[in-house]
């Protein structure tokens, strides 16, 4: 699915934040936008919402240039989590290069997590994505909730699947860049295997992930 134009020396990668309603997908992007340096990061595009709920999607674009001159754009999207917006979810999911599944740590939402993951599996197969090979990370958000499911239980459930699981509290900004970085690392390896990012373009995984997750230098440039 990787969009690569050799002649124009351009590559576009699409990352999708999936998950049940109100699990904090938009909050993840808001925090990334807040925490990461403006260098190479575009503005967060929040499409019209309905009562503060995502009905279309949010988009946070990143841009970096490899030592070879290859221009790489990384676009992070959110999908609407509400069940009724399935057509929108499918449209956004198309041609994704990596997926971050944002699950809710509230035990009351356990069922929603599973239903949404089922929905992800079904929609991936509908738009022709292979869940077994596509880079996928799971973030258990809202770790700050007092009633949050214990981490051991989560790891027991999800680690046998081999999918990386990260803990986060998006509202407080913890675990957000780590999730984004983990997904970016998985995507890098996939792209590297196919297009030789390190060999041909001189871009190492550390540089790629580092540039995408470069935390804002408080004393450096701020918002214009």
């Amino acid at each position: 699915m990787i969009e690569y134009n050799e002649k124009e020396r351009r590559m576009v990668l699409k990352l999708v934040y999936y998950g049940p309603a109100l699990s904090g997908k938009t909050t993840n992007l808001l925090q990334l936008h807040e925490k990461l340096t403006r260098q190479g990061r575009g503005e967060l595009m929040v499409l019209d919402t309905s009562g503060d709920r995502t009905i279309y999607f949010d988009l946070l674009p990143f841009f970096l240039t490899a030592p070879s001159g290859l221009r790489i754009k990384v676009k992070a999207y959110t999908v609407p989590g509400q069940v009724c917006h399935d057509a929108t979810r499918k449209a956004v999911l198309q041609r994704a290069d990596g997926i971050a599944f944002i699950a809710d740590s509230n035990p009351a939402e356990a069922q929603s997590n599973f239903a949404s993951f089922d929905n992800l599996e079904r929609n991936m197969s509908l738009v022709g994505l292979d869940i077994d090979t596509l880079p996928l990370v799971i973030q258990f958000n809202k770790r700050d909730l007092p009633e949050a499911i214990c981490e051991r239980e989560i790891r027991n459930t999800w680690e046998p699947t081999g999918i990386p699981v990260l803990m986060a509290s998006a509202l407080r900004g913890s675990g957000v860049t780590e999730t984004f970085g983990a997904l970016a690392g998985l995507v890098y390896h996939r792209v590297d295997a196919r297009y030789g990012l390190a060999a041909t373009h001189g871009l190492s995984c550390e540089e790629f992930v580092g540039q995408l997750t470069c935390v804002r230098d408080e004393t450096g440039e701020g918002e214009p």
Binding site: G42, P61, F62, K73
Partner: protein, 429 residues
């Protein structure tokens, strides 16, 4: 973008600045900088080609500001402002202002384009999904309609088939009843026929003795012997041939045989009358007579097994196919004999109330349970073990009564047993 299956729409494809900005978005901004005193304001792409530009008539002056224009974080163009060196600070501030304005326009346009794209995509896919659902429903509706149409034809075919089979079975039942009757009648005829034959054999022997006696006299008369001798010899021969006993027997044998022959004649007449083989046309019929005829042909089955009680009153004649009453009575009487067993008492009653004839055939058997009364006239309904009864006897009764324009019901006979009541209007007369 629409895929081969019409369901794929890709949202958020890369756009160029030319696709996002209109002349009417950019040129007023560039002209604004000229109005503020710049010599020229131009927007160049990364290769240095001019995308948009505006120049004042007085020339361009020196390059005062060159700022990158970003699209989704990627530098895609450069904004170049030239002018007199004296206005450097003012024009640089203007350039920065212009960059922010362009950035805002780009972001708003991009947002609008993305919203339109996702909206179109969702509407299209929903539309495609609805079209597919509609097509599926139409297909399924067509299938059901075809099924419904075929069903009607199939049901008609099956109904006709069933009706044919039903008629066929009714006919078979009539034949079976007649067969049963024939067996009884054969037995009835065989009996007198047996002793008539036996009598004839005896008479044959007797006649040969008469002949021997006559020959003896004829021979002795030729010899011209004395009358005393002939008489004595004749008397001896007479006794030798046991003619006194033979003479006494002959009268009995003849009268017995005649009685037997008369019995056969009567049976045949009954049968003929019962079957009405000669009367296919409708004719006035006395139902009491038909009842008696039926009893006549059933006499072998009734004799010694059933006690008949007759409470018959004179009835007006009914015009009908004369075979029908026999079918009704035969089947009802056979039914009573089957279910009431030996020692049954059958009460036959008939009366005419001025409008309708009412005939009742009651037995003292177990009767018909109320729960079964609705079913017993249906074809194939039987309480007997499989294979014993055809279940058609009462169906034949029902059909025949229907042909007479009447009704047949079953009630409890006084003192227990079944009472079949046939009511026939005499309106036809």
């Amino acid at each position: 973008m629409t895929g081969s299956d019409g369901l794929i729409f890709v949202v958020g494809e890369e756009k160029s600045l030319r696709e996002l900005l209109l002349d009417s978005d950019v040129l007023p901004l560039l002209n604004g900088v000229l109005a503020a005193g710049a010599g020229s304001a131009r927007l160049l792409d990364q290769e240095g080609e001019e995308l948009w530009g505006a120049s004042a008539p007085g020339g361009r002056g020196e390059l005062l500001a060159e700022l990158p224009v970003l699209l989704e974080g990627e530098p895609v163009a450069r904004l170049r402002i030239s002018g007199e060196g004296c206005g450097r600070e003012r024009l640089q501030a203007c350039a920065e202002l212009l960059r922010v304005a362009l950035d805002t326009v780009i972001r708003n346009n991009l947002k609008r384009v993305l919203t339109t794209e996702i909206h179109t995509s969702v509407v299209n896919s929903s539309h495609q999904a609805l079209l597919k659902i509609n097509a599926d429903l139409s297909l399924s509706e067509a299938r059901y309609r075809e099924l419904a149409e075929n069903l009607e034809t199939r049901v008609k075919e099956r109904s006709a088939e069933l009706k044919r089979a039903h008629t066929h079975i009714l006919q078979q039942e009539k034949m079976a009843a007649i067969g049963q009757l024939a067996a009884g009648v054969a037995h009835e005829i065989n009996n007198p026929l047996g002793f008539i034959t036996s009598n004839l054999h005896t008479l044959q022997k007797y006649v040969s003795r008469f002949c021997a006696m006559l020959q003896f006299y004829r021979d002795h008369l030729k010899l011209d012997l004395p009358m005393e001798t002939v008489s004595a010899e004749g008397e001896r021969k007479w006794r030798e041939l046991k003619l006194p006993q033979v003479m006494a027997d002959v009268a009995d044998l003849l009268s017995q045989s005649l009685t037997g022959a008369e019995r056969v004649t009567r049976i045949v007449a009954d049968l003929k009358g019962f079957s009405h083989v000669d009367d296919a046309q409708e004719m006035p019929v006395d139902l009491n007579e038909e009842l008696e005829r039926t009893l006549g042909v059933l006499s072998h089955a009734l004799a010694g097994r059933a006690e008949m009680v007759r409470e018959l009153q004179p009835l007006p004649r009914v015009t009908c196919n004369p075979q029908l009453p026999g079918q009704i009575f035969l089947n009802l009487l056979q039914n009573a004999l089957t279910h009431a067993g030996d020692g049954v008492r059958i009460t036959l009653a008939s009366l005419f109330d001025g409008e309708r004839i009412r005939i009742s055939i009651a037995d003292n058997g177990p009767g018909v349970p109320a729960a079964l009364r609705g079913q017993i006239f249906e074809p194939f309904f039987t309480t007997q073990p499989v294979g014993s009864g055809t279940g058609m006897g009462l169906a034949v009764v029902y059909e025949a009564v229907l042909n007479l324009g009447g009704t047949v019901t079953v009630a409890d006979a006084p003192g227990g047993g079944a009472d079949f009541i046939i009511t026939i209007p005499t309106g036809k007369d």
